[in-house]
Symmetry: C2
């Protein structure tokens, strides 16, 4: 049975990291949900925007796999860029879409965790003030609809770069959202908060870059596996990523890569057939 | 209200055309469903595989827009590559996923048509023999669940290239599936059949290439708008595509393109801000 994780929130959960900036994560034990079925993960996991890219879930999953080498993990993408908490109200299209995806996943997996990252669109004092209250209603309903009353929920901080970017003027009060997230996690028995300290953004100053999302995924996994808040960078986060990147590809993963290259027109029929033959 | 179309079937509905082989279709009147909400269409519309690309639905939608310049069309992706009819049985993950997507779409659109392309995995004599019977059960249930008893259904033929490609040995009996599709359309009051005559494949000999999918979309629209089978290439199909490609972009579409380039790291902050300023 696959252990699955529901990915919800805003663009930094969907992921906007540029793929060319980090090594790929290719791992046959990591699956993603497509049309209600599982397939081997490739990034982008989300396709909420044409600019979807690297997200935090892939390194989270790779870290999970280091602890569960003989089991499969499944990722359920349901995050949507540019959304405030008001877009996620119970009964909204986004909420019901996430529930529908999760229920399809539950036919062939057990949901072991919920990963949430959201808040950029709630960085106004009057919105930040009611963040906890709104999130409580959404998460309680989600847990209830999916039958996951005590499943760990991991939530992450907004990046400290936000007030310094090209849209910085809108983010002066981002610490209010981070405070709300932290307090929410403290008040909930099965919720853990993850710091974004030291992480960097794309040139837009809005979205974590690929490298930072890889690190953030490691922190999410630490919070999940240790059932604890992660309030500062982890001493081993880069070492863990190196371990993940250095894992040799299995034969099946190499064939998968080759097939993907052929399917997207990157190599000729002849080169494809020749390389495939070398796997026999 | 958006007029929407449900896209279901196999890889040739999902689309495997290489984007660099055809001009892009960028049109603010064409929307696609993501996470239960509408956004401006970009290809790939489907993301069932990392190799998803150009499909037939984009030129279908562009042709629809020529006839409905003041209305919006919405595309609901639900096709999955590599599937036989047995993967689409009533109650299967794929079937229920398509229903869930369509129901989310129905909150904010009216489904005006169903576009189906599937059959490569049913090209064995014993499967082709029961194709009609299986498709009838699936489509009847789909129509019933969505409340669409008389909504036009357009179904397309498999490509004549199939027996000649690198996997040609598996497709000798593909005409049996085309016969089944044609007969099904003849027997159903609201179903129309579209020929794939003259269309070409990617190097894999399996998937229509991008140019052929653009043409196939035009034929699908002809079948839909005229409520008729399309049994041969249309005299005006290439002319229509030229009209579609030559449409000048609106200001909003140009901004959309610019934003996409920036979001994916193709241009710098400075170039982005400078070009954005030129739109003020």
């Amino acid at each position: 049975m696959i252990s699955s994780f529901l990915l919800i929130g805003q663009s930094n959960m969907a992921g906007r990291g540029f793929a060319h900036e980090v090594p790929a994560i290719i791992n046959e034990g990591i699956q993603m949900l497509r049309n209600g079925r599982w397939q081997m993960m490739t990034e982008p996991i989300h396709n909420d925007r044409p600019g979807s890219g690297i997200g935090l879930a892939s390194s989270f999953a790779a870290a999970w796999r280091l602890d569960h080498p003989n089991h499969r993990i499944g990722l359920i993408p349901a995050a949507e860029g540019g959304t405030s908490l008001d877009d996620w109200t119970v009964g909204s299209a986004l909420f019901d879409h996430a529930i529908a995806q999760a229920k399809l996943a539950q036919r062939s997996s057990t949901i072991q965790g919920i990963l949430w990252h959201q808040g950029e669109n709630d960085c106004f004092p009057e919105r930040a003030q009611v963040y906890q209250q709104k999130l409580t209603v959404i998460m309680d309903a989600l847990r209830s609809e999916l039958g996951l009353p005590t499943t760990p929920l991991v939530i992450g901080a907004l990046g400290d770069f936000l007030p310094h970017g090209m849209y910085g003027q809108y983010f002066n009060t981002y610490p209010l959202v981070n405070d709300a997230l932290k307090t929410y996690a403290q008040n909930q028995p099965d919720c853990y908060y993850v710091s974004a300290q030291g992480l960097s953004a794309n040139p837009d100053g809005l979205h974590f870059n690929a490298e930072s999302l890889r690190v953030l995924g490691i922190r999410y996994y630490q919070a999940y596996s240790q059932r604890t808040d992660v309030l500062a960078p982890l001493p081993h986060e880069n070492e863990l990523l190196t371990t993940i990147y250095n894992r040799p590809l299995t034969k099946r993963e190499q064939i998968f890569q080759l097939e993907s290259h052929f399917a997207t027109g990157k190599i000729s029929v002849e080169a494809f057939q020749k390389e495939m033959a070398s796997f026999q």
